[in-house]
Symmetry: C2
Subunit: 395 residues, 2 copies
C-alpha cells in the first residue's frame, strides 16, 4: 500500500487509462466496415509518425518478428549485408541475417558506444557487393542512439538499403523516413506507442518495395507485398490483433494531439533529467554521448550487484527497472522513460535507484540530485528537442 507500482522498463511500458479502456472494449470483426474505418485513420496517423507517404504495415508479431520480416523480404540468400552492431539487438540482426543465408559483415562498436557513419561508408566502399545496412535506431540493451540520419545519407546515394530497427526509437525521437532516406523502419507496440506488446509496424521506401517485389519471401507468414495489398484496402492479410489496433487508434490520437515535436520535447527533457540526476549522484552513464531518448543505462558502483538493486527497487519502492544483458549482466540498471511516463515517475525511479544502491552496499554522495535533474528538465523543455542544455544553477 505504501508505493504504487511503477513500470520503468524499456518496454513494455505503462498504459494510459484511455488506452486501457479501449483495450477493454468488446470485440469487433476485422473484416467489417467499423474496423476498416479505424484502420484508415490509424494508417494516416502512422504515416505521419513514420514520416512517410508509404503504407505502414501492422503485423501480428513481436518486434523481432518484424525484423525477421524485413530481412527475409528485402534480401535473398547469398546477398551481402553490413550489420552495425553495438549490443544485443545488433547481434539479433546478425542472427536473423545468417538464418536467411545472407553473407554478413559485422561492424561492431563497444557496447555503450554508437557506430560511426564514416565507418559504415568505409565498409561499403571496401565491399561494393553489400546490398543493405542493418542498424538499430536505439540499441535497447545499452541505451545508445545510432546515427541513423547520417547512415541513411551514406546509403541513399548507393545501391544499399538502410534497414532500421526503431523498436525502442519510434515516437521517442525523430526518424522521418522519407526525409532521411531510411528504406525500412520497424517498431513495436509496447514502447513509445504506449500499448501492450503483440503488434509490430513496418514501412518500406519506394526502392525497398521494388527490392521486396523482386526478392520474394523466405517465410510464408511474412509476405510484405501481400500485406501491403491488404493494408491499401484497410485490411490485414491474416486476423490482426484487433484490440491492439483499437488501442493504437487511441494512443496515436494522444501522441499526435499536440504534434510530434511535443512528444520528442518531453522525451528529450526526461532523458536529460535522468542523465543529469544520475551524474549528480556520482554515477557513470554507460552511454556518455549518442544516447537514446527513452532509456538511460546506469553503470553501478564496483561491488554492487545489479540484480539485488533491481530486487530492492521493486520490493521496497514498487519501481520496476531492467538490468544488463549478456556482458552487462549485473553491471548496469536500465531506466526506461518511454511513452506514458512523466517526470514524477522518473523521480520515483531515481529515488528508488539511489536507495537501492545504498541498501545493496553502495555509496551515493549527492543530496540534491532530484533538484539538479529537474532544473535540467525545465531548461530542456524550453529548447528544440535534441539541443544540449548546460546544467543550470539550482535555485
Amino acid at each position: 500500500m505504501l508505493n504504487k507500482k511503477r513500470l520503468l522498463t524499456p518496454g513494455p511500458t505503462p498504459l494510459p487509462e484511455e488506452v486501457r479502456l479501449a483495450l477493454a472494449q468488446d470485440m469487433i470483426h476485422h473484416r467489417k466496415s467499423r474496423f476498416k474505418e479505424i484502420m484508415q485513420r490509424v494508417q494516416g496517423h502512422l504515416r505521419e509518425l513514420f514520416g512517410t507517404t508509404q503504407p505502414v504495415l501492422p503485423l501480428s508479431c513481436s518486434g523481432s518478428g518484424a525484423m525477421t520480416a524485413a530481412v527475409y523480404n528485402l534480401f535473398a540468400p547469398g546477398e551481402k549485408v553490413l550489420v552495425a552492431e553495438a549490443g544485443k539487438f545488433g547481434e539479433r540482426w546478425v542472427e536473423i541475417a545468417r538464418s536467411r543465408g545472407l553473407e554478413c559483415t559485422v561492424l561492431s562498436a563497444p557496447w555503450g558506444r554508437a557506430v560511426k557513419a564514416g565507418d559504415v561508408a568505409a565498409a561499403l566502399d571496401a565491399d561494393p557487393d553489400i546490398r543493405g545496412v542493418l542498424i538499430q535506431m536505439s540499441e535497447t540493451s545499452t541505451g545508445v542512439l545510432h546515427p541513423v540520419r547520417e547512415v541513411a545519407a551514406v546509403t541513399r546515394t548507393r545501391n544499399v538499403l538502410c534497414v532500421v530497427d526503431g523498436i525502442s526509437g519510434v515516437s521517442l525521437s525523430p526518424c522521418p523516413m522519407d526525409q532521411w532516406g531510411v528504406d525500412c523502419l520497424v517498431t513495436g507496440s509496447q514502447k513509445g506507442l504506449m500499448l501492450p506488446p503483440g503488434l509490430a509496424l513496418l514501412a518500406l521506401s519506394a526502392r525497398a518495395w521494388d527490392k521486396a517485389e523482386k526478392t520474394g519471401t523466405g517465410c510464408f507468414y511474412f509476405d510484405l507485398c501481400r500485406e501491403r495489398d491488404n493494408v491499401l484496402k484497410n485490411q490485414t492479410r491474416f486476423t490482426t490483433p484487433v484490440n491492439l489496433i483499437v488501442g493504437l487508434d487511441v494512443s496515436l490520437k494522444m501522441l499526435l494531439a499536440g504534434g510530434l515535436d511535443a512528444v520528442y520535447r518531453k522525451q528529450w527533457a526526461l532523458t536529460l533529467f535522468t542523465r543529469a540526476a544520475v551524474r549528480a549522484m556520482g554515477l557513470e552513464l554507460l552511454a556518455p554521448e549518442n544516447f537514446a531518448w527513452g532509456i538511460t543505462s546506469v553503470l553501478l558502483p564496483e561491488g554492487v550487484d545489479g540484480n539485488e538493486v533491481l530486487r530492492l527497487a521493486a520490493e521496497k519502492h514498487g519501481v520496476y527497472m531492467a538490468g544488463g544483458q549478456d556482458q552487462l549482466k549485473g553491471r548496469i540498471v536500465r531506466i526506461g522513460h518511454m511513452g506514458w511516463v512523466d517526470w514524477a515517475d522518473v523521480a520515483a525511479g531515481l529515488y528508488a535507484l539511489d536507495r537501492s544502491i545504498v541498501d545493496a552496499g553502495g555509496y551515493i554522495g549527492a543530496r540534491n540530485y532530484l533538484e539538479q535533474g529537474l532544473a535540467v528538465y525545465r531548461a530542456a523543455l524550453d529548447v528544440a528537442p535534441g539541443t544540449p542544455v548546460s546544467c543550470p544553477a539550482v535555485r
Copy 2:
C-alpha cells in the same frame, strides 16, 4: 438503441467482462516474477485443455503464424506431406507446405464434406515416403469437423506426423492430443478461448519434438525448440503479448471451472440448436454431417444474395455473421457460436437470419423454428457431448 451488437462470427468472438477487465489492467513486465507466476498457472491449464503432458507454447502471431511454425519446424525442404483439404484453410496448409519446399499430395473432399480417414490411410499406403498429414480439426470456411481421432489412429502406427489446425476447434470440441496420438495441435486466442486475436498456441508430441530437433527451422522467428526452452522456465523467447496472457489466465479459469465436459456440452447443444432451427426454417446446411461444434454454415435460398443478408442482419438487427469465401462467396451465411455466446445470442442470430433472408427477397416458411431449436438444445444438454438427439416434440 433498439438492438445490442452481437458478434456471431467464427472468430474473433465476444469477450467476457472478466476477460475485458483483465485486458485493461496496466502493463506488467514479462521478465519479472509476477508474470512468471501467471505463465506457470496458464501452462498447467493449457496442458489440461490440450490433453497433453507436453508444454504448450504461446506464440506472438495469428493462427496462420502457428501453422507456419508447425510446418517449418517439423518438415525439411524436399520432404513429402499429405494435406487433407476441404476448404480455404486446407488450401492454406498447401500454400504453407509448398512455401517450405515440401512435396505436397492433396487429398481433397468437396467443400462441406469431411475427408475420410480411410482415404488418408490409402494415400499413406500408396506413398510410404509421406512424413506428415496436415489437417484441420474444424474447417472454418465450411463448418466441417474432420475425423482427427481416426486420422491420428492411422498416423500413429506409421512414421507419419499428424499435424492439426485446431484454430476454430480447440476448447469447442474435444481433441485430447496424447490420448488420440495427435503430433501437433495449434490454436488461436480469438475463437473458443474468448480473447482478442494476437496469440497462438502450439503443442507437439514427444515424437514431433524429436523430429523438430533434427529438422531445424526455416524461419528465425519460429524456432519451436528455443521457444520450448523458454516456456519450461515460464518465459517466452521474445516479448509476448502480455495482456493476452493475463486475459488467457482468466479465460482458462472460466473454461475449466466446470470441467471441459461442460464446455463441450454447451458447444454441442448450441450447435444442435442452430442446426435444428435452420432446418426448421426450411434451409439447407452446408455440412449435412461431420459438422463443427462452433460454427454452422447455412446455404441460402437460390437468388438470395449472401452479402445483402449479412448487411441487413448487421444494420437492422445488430447481428454480425460471416459469409462464404471463394467458391462459397455470396452463397452461405456462417453463424459462429463459439466461446462467449449463449443460446439467446444464437436465437438473435437465427431471428436476424430469418428476417434478413425475407428482406433480401427469400422465403422462410417455418413459424416456430426457435421453439423447435430450443427443444433440441434442452435435450442436447442432457446427453454426453457428441451424442445425437432426435428432435423432441415441441410442447
